[in-house]
């Protein structure tokens, strides 16, 4: 879900950069040096995981996983996504330097919101609650990102309305897939390594 260079106006680009900068600053402030390798290496794991294509009906989809990233890293999702997107821009020319802020914000904000609202539920509760929270985190963060991308595209002009609709509709099946995978991964982590979800 990258917005390419040259689409957005200066005001939107500046706003995206400013908001992302604030998010990254909060993220860095909340992390101490001991957590740096953790954030970076988990971010790399997510990057690798996003290369996997999962069959969904007749098509294949790449996972976004920003919901799970938010659940595991919290505010660290901002620096983690900034780094991942910056490297994609430099190495593959996906996105670009001027859209880095907007793209980071669109991906990271829903992730952090999911962490703030649903993070507690994945830690506590009975058998079902954490899985439900995982499903919601996975699907809502992808859905939220799609909505943000659509809204950002729409700021570029009336002409982008169809495209904005298309972005949202195309992500509906992805939302279900992300929800299922995130819920199952939360279940796995609760059994195997509860500490990663912040459980004592």
């Amino acid at each position: 879900m990258h917005i390419s260079e040259g689409v957005l106006g200066g005001v939107v680009l500046a706003a995206g950069a400013g908001l992302s900068l604030a998010g990254v600053a909060v993220g860095l402030k909340k992390l101490d040096y001991g957590q740096m390798p953790k954030v970076a290496i988990l971010a790399a794991a997510f990057f690798v995981a996003s290369l996997v294509s999962v069959p969904i009906g007749p098509a294949k989809a790449h996972l976004v996983l920003n919901g799970l990233l938010g659940l595991l890293l919290g505010w660290g999702a901002f620096p983690a996504l900034l780094v991942a997107l910056a490297l994609q821009a430099v190495l593959f020319q996906f996105g670009g330097l001027t859209t880095l802020g907007v793209n980071t914000f669109n991906m990271a904000l829903p992730a952090v919101l999911c962490y703030l609202v649903l993070g507690g539920l994945t830690r506590n509760g009975g058998q079902r609650m954490p899985l439900l929270a995982g499903f919601l985190a996975g699907s809502l963060s992808v859905g939220g990102s799609a909505l943000l991308v659509a809204a950002t595209l729409y700021t570029a002009g009336q002409e982008f309305l169809t495209m904005a609709h298309l972005v949202v509709v195309a992500h509906l099946p992805v939302m279900v897939l992300e929800g299922v995978i995130t819920a199952a991964t939360v279940g796995f982590l609760r059994r195997v390594r509860p500490a990663m979800l912040g459980m004592a």
Binding site: G34, M36, I41, A45, V52, L82, L91, G96, G157, F160
Partner: protein, 251 residues
Amino acid sequence: MHLETFAHGHSPLHRLDPRAKLAAAIGYSLLVALGHDWAMLWAALGVSLAAVLTARLRPWEVLKRLLAVNTFMAMLWVLLPWQVVEAPAWPGLGLALNTHGVELALVITLKGNALALALMALVATSPINQVFHALAHWRTPQKLLQIFFFFYRYLHVLHREYHRLDWGMRVRGFVPGSNWHTYRTYAHLLGMLLVRSYDRAERVYQAMLCRGFHGTYWVLDHFAWQRRDGIFCGLWAGVLLLLLLLGRAGL
């Protein structure tokens, strides 16, 4: 996973200081992304092409990258130039060509390609570690730089790790399909990858502490700003100024 496709070469651009190239790329990106004059955008595409030729990048690789960039552009060309009309000229075909939409698609295609080419020629011609190093010189926060560095360092390790897990699954007869079993299996693969990454991060940090890590990441090789870097910056500033004037003249 070999990512630094363009990093090694013997062109004049490869020899430049990464700081000079990164600054040039940032200034150029801002100017081109915000410009909307035709003459300026075509000129920018020419400048980017000249930069790629100067960098002597492998044409096939450049084309592959451009193809990826232009899949998004293709979507724009399909969606933007049309508008729904109330009274269609031909029955059943309620669409008309919207000239504004065509112009918009062309502007975005020009900008996107010019900037992708410029990034290949200016930034991708330095090894990534030198780009980090350049950022370190510009007082990027230490923590962010460390995330950058570790992210890139362990990307390759984790990619191998993923392939090992994937092979393990295939050897045991796993065939992906659209079913619960597949999704649960992928979730477990992902979970295992995350658990192993987490443990690896722990070990890496302990090893860093053993070696006396105290919050500073030291760089061992140092840049030396040379005359050619100054000349390049001067030339590039001239190019930017010309593009700016071209844009103003058109307005």
